[in-house]
């Protein structure tokens, strides 16, 4: 009843998209994990990364892969500046203040992007070939994007688990006052973490752009904000590898529920929209996760 090519293509897409979801969520998760700030303006930073890749590739012919570190650097600087300009005062402030502040930053970036680059939707083509496998075509640029996402996650994981910086961060997360007592510069840890989180988000935007190559516009990041929230909760807010696992799991969940709803539709002849229902199912999955395992599925 189900076409094997459809299943295979769904699996491949789930895996590739999942990696992208993972790296995007990671950016959100670093900021939350360390500073306890939910970055509602998340989408604006994703958008920024996509534009960086677009301009560097289209206007200067830079290999899109090389734009990822550039995006990271720009995001890092931006995050660092943001911390000292505003968010330093908001660490530990009520939820509402930080939610609104990050929202305002997001609006600011989006509107400036619109004024500077116009609301026109842009895209590019970076064609490096297609792999044909059992009737399913896999686009190499997507594979490369997914691999870059893995590389970024691995790098962040290394940074947080195998370096002195990572040790300091964990100390701060567990007990900010205690960390201060043992001589850790908490303020600096916060600043660098925010910079890292924003850096990863902007880099994630570049990776997303390589994956999609289309639909680059000032408001493109908004849907990814909601998506990243869901995946972050599944991961466990603040979890690094969990972000990746949850991203991939979410990719598979999307694919599986699409297949399932399609079969229900065809079998029962219902007038329903399978692809849209997968979204609904995803959000109910989120609720279920929160109900049964609020600390996330991938948290030790």
């Amino acid at each position: 009843m189900v076409d094997p090519a459809l299943v295979l293509s769904s699996v491949v897409t789930a895996l590739l998209v999942g990696c992208i979801y993972g790296v995007l969520t990671l950016g959100l998760n670093i900021v939350f994990g360390v500073l306890r700030i939910v970055n509602v303006g998340f989408g604006a930073f994703v958008m920024l990364g996509a534009y960086i890749t677009y301009f560097l590739y289209k206007d200067y012919g830079v290999n899109p892969l090389l734009t990822i570190p550039v995006s990271f650097a720009i995001g890092f600087a931006l995050g660092y500046a943001m911390y000292y300009a505003a968010f330093r005062r908001l660490v530990g402030a009520p939820e509402l203040s930080t939610l609104l502040a990050t929202f305002a930053v997001g609006v600011l970036i989006q509107e400036l992007a619109r004024i500077a680059w116009s609301p026109d939707i842009r895209g590019f083509t970076w064609d490096i070939g297609v792999l044909e496998l059992a009737g399913v075509r896999i686009v190499y640029s997507k594979v490369v994007a997914a691999l870059s996402a893995l590389a970024v996650v691995a790098g962040v994981y290394y940074l947080f688990t195998r370096t002195r910086f990572g040790l300091a961060v964990r100390a701060v997360v567990q007990d900010p006052e205690g960390a201060m007592v043992v001589g850790i510069n908490v303020d600096r840890i916060y600043a660098v973490s925010m910079a890292l989180g924003i850096g990863v988000t902007v880099a994630g935007g570049s990776i997303l752009a390589i994956y999609l190559q289309q639909g680059i516009e000032p408001y493109m990041g908004i849907p990814y904000t909601l998506l990243a929230f869901v995946i972050a909760v599944m991961a466990g807010l603040g979890s690094i590898l969990g972000s990746l696992y949850a991203g991939i799991l979410f990719g598979f969940f999307e694919a599986a529920s699409f297949l399932a709803f399609s079969m229900i539709k065809d079998a029962l002849g219902l007038d329903i929209l399978p692809y849209v229902l997968t979204r609904s199912a995803a959000f109910f999955l989120l609720l279920l996760t929160l109900l049964l395992k609020p600390e996330g599925l991938f948290r030790r």
């Binding site: 509602v40 505003a86 939820e95 609104l100 609006v107 807010l237 609904s280 609720l287």
Partner: protein, 351 residues
């Protein structure tokens, strides 16, 4: 029936509530007067009212408990759908469709509040915020994907209202009628907020806001009071959605009525004015909408005359101002003033 001793505390409570409600009621009365004196500004006043109520109903829960319900807009959607259902499927009720619509909306919102409250209110902080987003989006995509109630197209029912109320009834209810209901809702919201603030519920909520664990230790039934505030806020929001989106707008479209943007706007309105205060949302709404309208309809054309093309320049400016308010006055404009005004009377007015 009640003895004098039983009546007195009740009267005291009512007096306290009236004193609290006074200033906000006065401002709404001024707006009501303006509504009749300046007929060419009615829609602007109605829009400001919408935002004041959007913030006002949000404030009851968020302002008093500190919980941020990102899925708040879903309650407005419930109300909007309730009214839409009443007219779309029960147009032969005539004017009775209006109370029926409000009732359906309020019931849907209460059920939703019960479910969300039961699940999500166990969570705190960011987890609560994200869970409520999940509920909102889950319902939206369920309606769209399941092709329920018009699916993604939604319900457009101006024709049905005409069928139910006739041409003149339609004109009346989509303009002055719904505007006056908005005023009624405004008074209701102020009264309810003031009552909550002056009773045991308000004190309990305040304790929860300060320190939930301590409140629990003191024997306060935390869940009960949170649910009371949550459901009150939800029902008021549903009445607002039913009035402004359905009676006035006649169009319920899932992509719009479940748009989280409205929650964010509610937060903006509350934060600008001051969380947990009665005047706060009103002040926030006047600034938020008044500022926008003025920039848009007077400043922008004026600049255009000068040959300056600045489409949408007010949005980034607004974002900066918002950021400044959050960083410099975390308690909002009303809260900021209250903390600094020396006069006791004025302080009470701002409470």
């Amino acid at each position: 029936m009640a003895s004098g001793g039983g009546l007195e505390p009740l009267l005291d409570t009512l007096k306290a509530a009236a004193r609290k409600a006074g200033p906000a009621l006065a401002v709404y009365l001024v707006l009501l007067a303006a509504y009749f004196i300046f007929p060419e500004r009615r829609q602007l006043i109605a829009t400001i009212l919408f935002y004041a109520l959007l913030g006002g109903a949000f404030n009851i829960f968020m302002g008093m408990t500190g919980y941020v319900d990102f899925g708040y807009v879903a309650f407005l959607a419930m109300g909007a759908y309730g009214m839409a259902i009443a007219f779309t499927y029960m147009a032969d009720l005539g004017y009775w469709a209006i109370p029926v619509g409000f009732a359906i909306g309020a019931i849907l919102a209460s059920i939703l509040a019960g479910i969300v409250g039961g699940i999500a209110l166990r969570l705190r902080g960011a987890y609560f915020a994200i869970a409520t987003i999940g509920v909102n989006e889950g319902i939206r995509f369920l309606i769209e994907g399941g092709n329920l109630l018009g699916g993604s197209v939604g319900l457009l029912f101006a024709g049905k209202i005409k069928e139910a109320l006739g041409d003149d009834g339609f004109k009346m209810i989509t303009s002055t009628g719904s505007d006056l209901i908005l005023f009624g809702l405004a008074f209701l919201t102020v009264a309810v907020t003031a009552l909550i603030l002056s009773t045991r519920v308000g004190f309990a909520l305040q304790a929860i806001r300060e320190d939930e664990d301590a409140a629990k230790a003191l024997g306060i039934n935390v869940t009960k009071y949170k649910l009371i505030a949550f459901t009150t806020s939800a029902v008021l929001a549903s009445l607002l959605g039913a009035t402004f989106w359905s009676l006035k707008g006649n169009y319920v479209e899932p992509a719009r009525v479940f748009n989280i943007h409205y929650t964010v706007e509610a937060i903006i309105v509350v934060m600008l004015g001051g969380a947990g205060t009665l005047l706060g949302p009103l002040v926030g709404a006047v600034i938020y909408q008044g500022f926008n309208f003025a920039l848009n309809t007077y400043v922008a054309p004026f600049l255009r005359e000068l040959g300056i093309h600045a489409l949408g320049i007010h949005l980034p400016i607004f974002a900066l101002i918002l950021l400044a308010v959050i960083v410099a006055m975390p308690e909002g404009i009303v809260g900021y003033l209250r903390a600094r005004v020396r006069s006791r009377v004025l302080r009470e007015v701002l409470a």
